[in-house]
């Protein structure tokens, strides 16, 4: 999923249950990590153990933490079963509802370690990671008006919702290894046979294949409990989002007024209006002694998120103390310049790795990018530093040369087969590659065959994306590829790119962020089995077979396209250091033998903190502010 209103918001289309595997969120970003950022602002104040913590000496409980966003942008109506927006995940995990597995909700590697949340402790996988048994904490209660204890049945119901097609679960593919899940999703069973509940506080998952990263998957908010009393009344996609109850430190304002005596009496909770905003207030049934303070500080009495479409107004208000921060917006570079060059303000500008990759995607089936030498030449010629500067410079991203963000490779950012001095591109190296291509007919290092002219280049038409266009067009022209730029709004751009039959040759409108801290959430982008006619996220069509091509109306190059399906399957079965090493090998192979992208930057998430913020941290999991650990001083608010 993603983090900054990800691109993702639009990506909402991604696949889903039933289909072979697919999905994942597309996003603009999703995040994580900490390494990487020589530019990342490090914590000030210290004392929390988090390397990304901002903390003053007088952080106290109380007050209202005010956030503005241009658009809530929920992709699944805030229904935990369906929602696929990274920021929404953060709200659900940190504030609203507790799952079996959680995170510390801090930045850096500490924020990517799974921890027991609703579970008493994290189990070891049994039988080659195919059986996982959890004990549920006793005494954890649902918020008003439900007021009862959470049981294993509530968790089972959450999984059954994901297996209910009408709910529109967008990442159910991650739990498909559970025995019987697919049968229920296909309508062949009424329950999931692979989930057992011997008692109200025990739940066992039996999987059909070794899944070493299953704990990560159980940290995704769709797997957190849902009360059947309320959920069963709302099985249309996104509908439950207006009725969400939880077990976390906060509840949606007005949740206690929800009349759950019958489905007919339930009216949307007053504190959430998709066009105006959402307000969280304290959940009176939350018992902090049954939670881990490392995971949630829960300092403010309430958190108010309002919609404000005027970006300049939002940042003006933050600076004036009328807001604490923004969501779904990157800090404008001019504001970043002002803050980072003023010693009295610099602590209030935060920049943290999102664990996402920005890239140009090349279609392996479309001339001239059906020739690997052209794709390699593209990697040599692109001025990555210029692209980085288009996003705002070093505070907005770290230049990269490979597909998987470093944090998912144990911090390794050394894979860079097409490194150039200053990451500025190298014409000589690019032309050497181009000379080996059939599209360079006179072998002068310039693409000169017919398909080199008028090559469709898809991009978004606003913000930093629009600034990428001139650079990309200029760079490709240096090796003879004349691009015909097509700039579209975010939604149509995604729809165009995700429709396979369009065979878009080159695009820079997409980004990708992790779904959880494992490289498999990037590998899905190159899985040939995931290629679907629309909503496709394997934009390069890596691994497409002749049969698929025929069905999808795609013209294949005569030598076909390379596949890495077997390589990713091998990695998925491994664990520990072996898994990391396997993914590094995979990434290297992708960049040297397939070359579907020109990866150029691992994005950094920027935040601007208002003067009343007394504590703040970054949530590496969602790639957004950690609302679990913020605090505000009402006396400093305006």
């Amino acid at each position: 999923m993603t983090s900054r209103r990800k691109t993702l918001a639009l990506l909402g289309s991604v696949a889903l249950v039933g289909a072979v595997g697919v999905a994942a969120c597309g996003s603009d970003d999703k995040s994580s990590d900490t390494n990487g950022g020589d530019t990342a602002t490090t914590a000030q104040g210290g004392g929390s153990g988090s390397e990304t913590r901002f903390m003053s000496d007088d952080a106290k409980k109380g007050g209202t933490y005010r956030i503005a966003t241009p658009d809530l942008g929920f992709t699944g109506g805030f229904d935990p079963s369906a929602e696929y927006l990274g920021w929404a995940w953060g709200l659900q995990q940190m504030l609203l509802n507790r799952g079996l597995v959680g995170y510390r909700h801090v930045g850096g590697t500490a924020g990517t370690e799974p921890m027991a949340d609703l579970a008493e402790e994290l189990p070891e996988g049994e039988n080659d990671n195919t059986v996982w048994t959890f004990k549920i904490r006793k005494g954890v209660k649902w918020s008003p008006p439900l007021n009862r204890e959470v049981t294993s049945k509530d968790i089972v119901y959450a999984f059954e919702r994901m297996a209910t097609p009408s709910v529109g679960a967008q990442y159910a593919n991650y739990v498909q290894p559970i025995k019987g899940f697919k049968e229920m999703a296909d309508g062949k069973a009424k329950t999931i046979s692979g989930i057992e509940t011997p008692d109200d506080h025990t739940i066992t998952f039996t999987l059909t294949e070794p899944t070493p990263d299953f704990l990560f998957r159980l940290a995704m908010p769709a797997t957190a409990p849902i009360p059947p009393e309320v959920g069963k009344c709302h099985t249309k996609a996104g509908e439950y989002g207006r009725y969400v109850l939880g077990t976390g430190p906060y509840m949606i304002k007005g949740a206690d007024k929800l009349n759950i005596s019958s489905c007919a009496t339930q009216k949307p909770i007053a504190g959430f209006n998709p066009t105006d905003g959402i307000t969280f207030v304290r959940n009176p049934n939350y018992d902090a002694s049954l939670d881990d303070p490392e995971q949630r500080s829960a300092m403010p009495d309430s958190i108010d998120i309002s919609v404000n479409t005027n970006e300049k107004d939002v940042f003006d208000k933050i600076q004036a103390g009328e807001l604490e921060e923004a969501a779904g917006l990157s800090v404008p570079p001019d504001v970043a310049r002002k803050y980072t060059t003023d010693d009295s303000l610099k602590d209030r500008f935060r920049s943290n790795p999102e664990d996402s990759t920005n890239y140009l995607t090349m279609n392996l089936t479309t001339p001239p990018f059906d020739d690997i030498h052209v794709r390699k030449a593209a990697n040599f010629i692109v001025d990555k530093t210029a692209l980085q500067r288009a996003w705002g410079g070093k505070l907005y991203g770290d230049v990269t040369g490979h597909t998987i963000p470093p944090v998912l490779l144990d911090g390794d950012n050394s894979i860079d087969p097409y490194a150039t001095e200053g990451s500025a591109g190298d014409l000589a190296k690019a032309q050497e590659e181009m000379k080996q291509s059939a599209y360079d007919t006179d072998k002068d290092g310039m693409c000169d065959a017919g398909p080199c002219k008028g090559v469709l280049y898809l991009n978004r038409n606003y913000g930093a994306y629009a600034k990428l266009g001139p650079i990309v067009i200029d760079n490709f022209a240096k090796i003879g590829i004349q691009l015909d730029a097509k700039e579209l709004p975010t939604g149509p751009a995604y729809e165009t790119l995700q429709t396979v039959k369009n065979q878009v040759p080159l695009a820079s409108n997409a980004r990708w962020g992790k779904d959880y801290p494992d490289a498999t959430t990037f590998a899905v982008l190159f899985d040939g089995r995931n290629i679907i006619p629309t909503g496709n996220t394997n934009y390069s069509l890596v691994g497409i077979t002749p049969d698929q091509a025929k069905k999808l109306g795609v013209t294949l190059p005569k030598d076909g396209v390379p596949s890495v399906d077997a390589d990713m399957d091998k990695c998925r079965k491994t664990g520990g250091e072996e898994r990391i090493a396997c993914w590094k090998e995979f990434d290297t192979k992708v960049m040297t033998e397939v070359v579907p992208w020109v990866p150029y930057m691992n994005a950094l998430h920027t935040n601007l903190l208002g003067p009343a913020v007394t504590q703040w941290d970054f949530d590496q999991d969602s790639g957004e502010s950690s609302l679990a650990h913020v605090a505000v001083d009402p006396g400093l608010q305006k």
Partner: protein, 280 residues
Amino acid sequence: MLFIILLVVVAIFAPVLASLIGHGPNELFNRTMLDDFGLPLGPNSEFWFGADASGRDVLVRMIYGTRVSLAVGLLATLFAVGLGVALGLVAGYLGGIVDTVLSRIAEIILSLPILLFAIGIVTACGASKEGCARGAIKPGLMLVVLISAFFTWPWMFRIVRGVVLQLREREFVDAARAIGAGPTSIMFREILPNLISPIIVYASLMIPQAVLFEAYLSFLGLGVPDTTPSWGRMIADGSQIYDVAWWLMLFPGIILLLTVLAFNLLGDGLRDALDPKSDR
């Protein structure tokens, strides 16, 4: 008039001027004219009007933008005048049902909120890879020209029709009819030459409207692509960071203002010179 001639010269010799300056319209100077935050640097001895957000020379892009503005202004006016004059002649001379139908069509078009409608059309045609009407209409300069012409021809139509209604009753028309001239001959050989003055006057006033129209659409991101410099788009791009890069809006804004003013003054002058009934 002098200013308009200057604009035409600049438009024609844009490549020559750019080569004298030493910068291309899409040439990137992102190493020297953008700071570490990707923000553009202002006017200096090499970049008289500063750089834009991509590190391109604002002066050179303004020079090339003259081409777009004049092309849109002249082409849209040409199409609108052609259509408006032809239909105005027919409606005014033939009268009856033909006049009624054409007049109602013109009134319907004039009643449409032009900018809103144009935005709708351009957005619809620009929202997909193929354009719209099965690819027949694609976003770009020509679409802007056609939309502008579509919405402005009724003005010329009404003026021409009104004048023709008066002229068709004149003796020289009766004389032509008496010697056996057909309707087409009368319309184009007898009446049309008498319409030249009002056509020239109103055409000169339609040009600045078309120039502004292109600027509006480009400002909204619906006009020409970024690689084709346009004053409207330059102003739009500059508006996002106007408080830290004032030059991005100021210089294109001034040249747009002066251009529209110049054409309006030209139109006024022509009307004074060619319309015998106007106050001198």
